[in-house]
Symmetry: C2
Subunit: 187 residues, 2 copies
Amino acid sequence: MPRVGLDQSKIIHAAIELANDQGLEQVTIAALAKKLGVRPPSLYNHFSSLIEIRTKIAREGMQKLEDTLIRSVAGKSGEEAILSFSKQYLTFANANPGLYEATIQPMNVPDNVVADTSKNMIDLLVQLLSAFSLTEQESLHLVRGLRSIVHGFASLQRAGGFQMNFKVEDSLLYTIKLLCDGMKAKQ
Amino acid sequence: MPRVGLDQSKIIHAAIELANDQGLEQVTIAALAKKLGVRPPSLYNHFSSLIEIRTKIAREGMQKLEDTLIRSVAGKSGEEAILSFSKQYLTFANANPGLYEATIQPMNVPDNVVADTSKNMIDLLVQLLSAFSLTEQESLHLVRGLRSIVHGFASLQRAGGFQMNFKVEDSLLYTIKLLCDGMKAKQ
DNA sequence: GTATAATAACTAATATCATTAGTTTTGTAA
DNA sequence: TTACAAAACTAATGATATTAGTTATTATAC
C-alpha cells in the first residue's frame, strides 16, 4: 500500500479532466480511482460520496466561469460588454465541456456556493444592462433572456443541435445584437 | 408466469410516465419492470437495450413537441406566430419535464427519426421568419437564436435557474418581443 | 530516536444496475 | 389436439457505489 498522496484538489482536478475528455457521466468512482492509480474505496477517505465530488466540480466550474466573464467585461460597457460576455460564455462552454455540463446539472442537494456564484453572474448582467434605460422589471426580464440565450446556444451546440454550415458564435452574436437593437429602439 | 400483455407501446408509455414523475435518470430497466409488474429480463423480449428505450422516448417526445408547435402557429403569422410558438414550447417543457429532457439528451447513437423531426421544427421556424424581410443567412442565424432562447428558458427553468419573483413565461415573451422589435428596426 | 496517534491506503462484502443464456409456460394457428 | 412462436421466467455475470473493518504509513510528541 504505497501512499499515492491524494487530496481533494488532486481528485477534483482528475475528475474535471475526465469530465472534459469523456463526458460528465463518465466521472465514476471506479474510473476516477483507476485514473489515480488507487482502489475505489480509497477515495472515500477524501470524499463522502460521488455526489459530493460532483458538487465540488460544479463549484469549480461556476467559479471559473464567473472569473472568465468578469474579465471579459473589464473596461467595457453597454453593447460591447454584453457581446464580449456572450462570446466568452460560449467559448468557455466549448473549451470545458464537462466542467460546463457540471454547472448546469440540476443538483441533488442545492449548494450555497453554486447558488451564490450564480447570483453574482446575474448581478453582473444587471450591471451591464444599466447602460440602457430600462425599468427594473424590464431589466430583470432581459437578464433572464440573456442567460437563456447564452445557455441555450452552449447547450444546443453541446448536444450537436446545430449543423456545421456556419459558425455558431456568429449566430449568437447576431442574435444578441438584434436584441440590443430592440432595446435601443425602445429609447 | 401469467402473461401481462406487454408491448413496445405500453412499455414506452410507462417509461414516459416514470420520466415525467421521477426524472429521466430514474427510467431504469429495474424501475420499469417493477412498474409493469414483471421481472427485468422480460423487457428484453420487447427491446434490445435500455438505450433503445431511451431513443424511443426521445422520438415520442420530439413528435409530440412538433405536433404541439405546428398547432400553435396554425392560422397565425409573423410576430404573433413566433410568440405563440415560444409560449407553447415552454408550456410543453413544463408539462412534460421528463419527455422534454429526453428530446434534448445527446443520444448515444444518432437517430434519424429524431433528426428528421428536429429538421421539421427548424423548417417551421424558417417559415415563420419569412414574414420579416431577412437575407437567408440572417434567417438562419435567427432560427438558431430562437431555438436557443426557447430551449434556454426551458432548460434553466427546469434546473431551477430562476427565482420565483415573477413569471418565467413573461420573461420569455418580453425577450422574444424585443427580438422582433430589433428585426422590425432593420427594415 | 522511539512510541503513539492519525491518516490513507487496503480487502472483503453488500446491494443495485444492465444484460445474457437457457428454461418454462402460454396462447395461437394448423 | 398438437406444435410452434412468443413472452414470461430463473440463474448467472460483471459493472456500479458504498460500508465495515484492517493494515500500513506518515507525522507528531516525547
